[in-house]
Amino acid sequence: MNIISRRNFLQTAALTGAGLALGPSLFGKDEVVDKNWKSPHANLVSPDKKVRLAVIGCGGQGGVDANIMAGGVQFAAFADVDYDRASAWFLREPNVPRYRDYRKMLDEQKDNIDAVLIATPDHTHFPAAVMAMNLGKHVYVEKPATHTIGEARYLKALAKKTGLVTQMGNHGHAYDGCRELKEWIEAGVIGDVTEVHIWTNRPVWPQGVPNPDPEKKFEVPSTLDWNLWLGVSKYYNYNPDYVPFDWRGMWDWGTGAIGDMACHMFDPIFTAIDLRGDVKVSSESEGATEFSCPKWAKVKYEIGASKTRPKPVTFNWYEGKCRPHLKDLPDGLFKEEKDIPHTGMLYVGTKGAIIDTDDYGTRMRLLPAEKWEVFRKNRPPKKYARVPDRNARMEFIRACQGGPTPGSNFVDHSMDLTEWGLLGVLSLRLGNKTIDWDYKKGVCRGLPEANKFIHKEYRVF
């Protein structure tokens, strides 16, 4: 995260362009930037040229992302396994080459592509990103960027090695909330963080569903290439209950409610305090099978103190019908059970607490209410540079042209954040076993059976 410092930084608005290596467009209007900024990234696109963007997965969230990037890019190619889902983009840009298979697209169009937006179901993020990065393309990968911890570590290393621009699609990371929480905590507003509670109404899609019945066969729609949709996943017969969207409740393709939301809801606190290191993770849940994610779950992370973490932290996740009750929380924060919001992120420190009721970290206030009234008029000074227009997609595009490194890049942030979320998934997939995570080695101590979920196998398709 870029720090603001009077001596080294100046407002881009003051830049006139003359004599500067980079024009203001790279930084956006209101960003505070380093006047000596020189992008460390490889394969940069000249700022006077449009980034040539390929999209993998054009329906759903990919369509949303592409729409936000549209003004700043030239679409180079589209890949989608489902003509139907992609047709809005295919028909909006009838001259852009359109593929079923991203491998063929990357292979044939590699000379025409600078960057790739990957917004497929989770299990396809990794193979598509690896291929794109091995071809020297910058990547914007939807969240969770990976399906396993092994993949997260691999992509982090690949991003380091290639020097490409990377960004995960937890777009809330570009909002001010992430920076404010860090500023407040570093200013000592709630003291040292000791407890975190994060809860959501998700899953709002089916979880705890029966195993697929191999006898049951549905006709695959003519516009869908099912084998390509499955990609590296084990083969299953097509079922309209899986696509679109609902695959996220099934382990082969998604990561359940925790995987889906961790990248958003864990992000502000993961940005604010250091949560990297050995950790114990335990869970409770109901209805999970080898195939399906659970109907509901609670996950508890316990991480010790360290040089960068003054106090041990317990970090609690609640999904589905679960949420924290008065008995689970420190006294005095909420008067009655009904005062606890339906969804939230609660950060408790040695001197106070902060609640946030927005999944993307934009609705923070101090608890109890009286403290907030005093604090809101006297907030700590801004320390971290804001992202122009709070726009994570354009932050990525500008970075491809030499602008500042995106906040949720793979090397410094998003792969570690993804790993933190996936540790909860790991405990759930192991049937609620408590795991003792060895951060350095990337293994669960004394649990060799965890390895098949840390590093999965990939079907040749």
């Binding site: 992609a86 292979d107 398709f461």
Partner: protein, 228 residues
Amino acid sequence: MKKIFVFSVVAAASMLFAFGAPKKEVFVKESQVFAKVDNAKSKSKKWPSSVVIFKDDMSAAKSAAKNWKIENGELKGSEGAPLVIKNAKGVYAISLEFNADEAGEGCIFVRAPKGDVSKAVCIKLCQLNADKGETSIGSINGVIKPGNKFNETKDGRWSRIMIFVEEEGVRVTPNTNLCGHYADRNFLTYKWEDISKKSGYEVAEEGEAGFLCSKGNLKFKNISITVF
């Protein structure tokens, strides 16, 4: 050892491509996934391209009656004869934006035997009195109504419709959020068989497609056709 492994992955992959759907699944480890770009060669076909029609001229029309004209990149139609499109055969998709005036009413028709619109499958584009509970856009032949009601966009804005004509039937997506998260592939899916039963005549196995303006004025733009 390593070389043999990489070779076997590539060989296995080519066998899969050669024989279509996987019989015996072959799996590789994380570090082998497309570590070599050659491992990722795919023989899959591209999606067919779309052809933009009726933008500059009427060359895509099989028969162009006088009530249809092109103006400023828009196809404009008034009450009268249908406009039949060339080459809308087999499995294809038509996508367009439309805009109707106050009195405008019309449809896109498909499977019209020898251009006989009275025996075609007509997909309603805009509907007078839609607010009063009558059939909404996307309904078929005035007898098959969608489960959900869709109206054309009012207040002068353009509506969008996509029509997929398939072997089994026709799928219609009017003003949908195809880019949204909750797109439902089953809505407005009509089987030829059901259309025949409810309309009281056999849907032709092949037939022509085109536009009909039955009242008022209709405008169309960004019309494209994709033949699969």
